[in-house]
């Protein structure tokens, strides 16, 4: 059981990125670049969304 929100998010992003990279690109530097970009979008985008939601009350 992984109780860390951040670790769960990173693992999910990593696994989803690997799958999408393999499905959408042929082996090569282009696939690696796409994977890095997608991972960054998923993780940094999640953090940005989290901070955008921060001002709003939880309940």
């Amino acid at each position: 059981m992984i109780e860390s929100h951040l670790l769960n998010m990173l693992l999910y992003s990593l696994l989803a990125t690997v799958v999408f990279s393999i499905l959408t690109h042929e082996p090569g530097p282009e696939r690696t670049r796409y994977g890095v970009k997608l991972f960054a979008i998923m993780t940094l985008g999640s953090l940005v969304l989290a901070w955008l939601m921060f001002p709003f009350p939880r309940t």
């Binding site: 059981m1 992984i2 989803a16």
Partner: protein, 151 residues
């Protein structure tokens, strides 16, 4: 002069032939191969790709889906059960069906019941659901490779 006039006519007929072939779809043999790869891929994630000779790709994809499912179960996530009156549960159950026979084996073993009170329940359920949905994409990819739509 007459030959030059016939040249565009011939090119026009050739392009119409190719367009007609694309509209009718892949040949029957390729279609059977594609459906077979898709069916095999539904049995086990990545098996469709391995069956088509893409062993490395199949192994990596299997590893990703398996790890995602394992993390979901470890986080006390639950397999979706259709509940009457709750349409979204039917969608979630359909997503879980992407896991193939593993979904039924886990349910028979009593695994994946989930603990809604557990703090990581939502993470676990999301991991499990995503594993099933991603396998549907793998199945479609295996079909595309088999019929020649992609390498």
């Amino acid at each position: 002069m007459a030959e030059r006039r016939r040249e565009p006519e011939r090119r026009g007929r050739e392009s119409k032939g190719k367009a007609a072939e694309q509209e009718s779809g892949p040949p029957r043999e390729l279609l059977i191969r594609g459906v077979g790869a898709a069916a095999v891929g539904l049995l086990l994630p990545g098996l469709g790709h391995a069956w088509l000779g893409r062993l490395g790709r199949g192994a990596i994809l299997f590893g990703c889906i398996a790890v995602m499912l394992a993390l979901g179960l470890a986080n006390e996530g639950g397999l979706a059960t259709p509940r009457p009156g709750e349409p979204l549960t039917y969608l979630a159950a359909f997503g879980n069906l992407g896991l193939g026979p593993a979904y039924f084996v886990l349910r028979a073993m009593g695994a994946g019941t989930g603990s809604p009170d557990h703090p990581t329940y939502e993470y676990g359920t999301t991991f499990i659901l995503s594993a099933g949905l991603l396998n549907f994409l793998l199945v479609l990819d295996a079909y595309d490779i088999a019929v020649g739509n992609r390498k």
